[in-house]
Point group: C2
Chain length 346, copies 2
């Protein structure tokens, strides 16, 4: 399939961030690459998935996984190609997904590394970083349908609307018969979700008064909030929630750059007064039901009912730029770093 | 049954509080009492139920019912006796419950006033202000079992532990096989719930470090929080919640004296990281299932498995004192104002 590589470039976390990201936190080192031992595989990185959660893993805040260790490779989801295998469940040429990390290759026990063969589905490989990814469609699917419990005719607000999760949540919401109002941080994102994805409206929180815009775009109140951002946006949304509304708490991106705890939403009493349900979730809580989600999302993709697009950075060396861009850039769609060429697909 | 009364004393809300309560907010006026018209009843007040929610109704904060009007009678739950009836569903001598208000008598359409005949159950009348009341056992029952979803062996924390709701929540929690840790504002309350009601522990938040005490008393973390108080207490509890924990949000007493919004819990991100469910509720959301709750609670009461006690203020004139006491006094059990003598019970 390919000659055995001798060296491996890896991005190492030099020190933890104390605020907005900074290039000096990461160092690209070239290391000798070891051979796989029995039970192990050697995987070439094709694409890295650049997600807000990486920012959380860089910090020592209480979180849902152990933080990335200082001196360790930066953790990151991605797609890879098996180059060598001494594990009977994997063979050279297999496409895999999992926590590959910011490096050209990874070598180790696939179970320890959390590497999984990609399911055989009639979709392009990048779909496994978007509509069929944990940090994409799987989160959108379980968050909207299981936590949000939508009923046709209700109003859904989704923050981070132009991102990899939010853009899919809104489209699934439209299929469920909801009024869908997005909140995004730039006009390109707002235009994308309203003109290309069918959202009913989208609010640019950087240029609009969010409370006034929510009042205008959600005349019947808000029944479901798919929350990716937190902070003042969540606060404004809570104030406009209808009784018995549901908040699917998926992310709090606005807080990930902060090392100290921030005040919670001052509209928190609305949870009581309006009898809301606010529920945090991770799509990995629903692993047993991934086959169901894969089947439905693949159907929507092949029927052209669910669209996605990628914003691709080129080369492993661009990973820190890509991560900064996700917080401060005009991101639209799924942010990906292409590390090496995938094989030609049949 | 009794001669027709000619006058009625009523507590009128003179102006809205802007902070801690103050006697000058209320004025006791004597008014002529009108006769009931067709469809109406005349009810003599026996007992008033003094609850934290009255403080909320006095303010104009967003809430779950319209605020009490300035110039209007202070809204309050209570028990009464029908003196005259021109409504075929009520007859003189009937015991009724509902939003009687701070007055000696109320007259009007029972449906408009929300007055209901008390169910015929083998319990003393005061049970309908405690274990069988909306602001007592019904809230405890639906909040713990429906929102809290307890499983034997889990740990329950209940704030406002010595109060009318909290004291019942903890006892129901013990029956459900939970470890029960209360939080209360005085040593009398802590002693009552641990020595008389069987709580495993109780923390005095005024004299103890709540975080340290929770760590000591909840060695396996917290699975269910029955929240009556909010503020720093909720914050400390959220930090110690286990993954997939449930917060039954019943009250936020610590905020009811505040006219401006307070910051929400700074540990709010735990809702995401630990995948918690935070759900506000009112027991009136479960009205259709009151018969089930009445039956179970009555069984527990008659079997001696559920205890309650009242703290009784004497006379309508004491109502403002009683309401102040609920926020600042050493309250243990259900706070009641006795307005007139109930009839002798068979």
């Amino acid at each position: 399939m390919s000659t055995t590589p001798q060296t491996n470039r890896q991005y190492i976390l030099k020190s933890r961030p104390t605020g907005p990201l900074d290039h000096d936190l990461f160092e690209l080192r070239t290391q000798p690459l070891r051979e796989p031992e029995p039970g192990e595989v050697l995987v070439r990185t094709l694409y890295l998935s650049i997600d807000p959660t990486i920012r959380l893993w860089l910090s020592e805040r209480p979180q849902y996984m152990p933080p990335i260790q200082v001196g360790g490779v930066v953790r990151s989801g991605g797609l890879g190609l098996v180059v060598q295998s001494r594990n009977p469940s994997f063979k050279p040429g297999d496409l895999i997904g999992g926590l590959i990390g910011w490096q050209d290759y990874c070598v180790g026990d696939p179970n320890v590394l959390g590497l999984r063969p990609l399911p055989k589905l009639p979709v392009p490989p990048l779909a496994f970083l978007g509509p069929l990814a944990a940090t994409g469609g799987l989160t959108a699917y379980f968050g909207l349908f299981d936590i949000g419990q939508p009923r046709a005719g209700e109003t859904l607000v989704v923050s981070g609307a132009a991102g990899s999760v939010g853009s899919l949540v809104g489209q699934m919401g439209k299929m469920a018969g909801l009024r869908v109002v997005g909140i995004a941080g730039n006009d390109e994102g707002c235009h994308y979700v309203t003109h290309e994805l069918g959202f009913d409206a989208c609010i640019n929180y950087k240029t609009e008064d969010v409370k006034a815009a929510l009042a205008r775009h959600c005349p019947d109140g808000i029944d479901i909030d798919f929350e990716n951002v937190g902070g003042p946006i969540l606060e404004a949304v809570l104030e406009r929630m209808n009784p018995f509304g549901r908040v699917a708490l998926c992310g709090l991106i606005s807080q990930y750059d902060q090392e100290t705890p921030l005040p919670g939403p001052s509209s928190f009493p609305m949870v009581l007064m309006r009898r809301l349900k606010v529920q945090g979730f991770l799509c990995t809580d629903f692993t047993a039901r991934f086959p169901e989600a894969y089947a439905r999302i693949t159907h929507w993709l092949t029927a052209g009912k669910l669209k996605s697009k990628e914003h691709i950075f080129q080369g492993l060396e661009s990973a820190p730029d890509a991560l900064e861009f996700i917080f401060h850039g005009k991101k639209v769609g799924k942010l990906v770093v292409k590390v090496s060429d995938p094989p030609a697909m049949p």
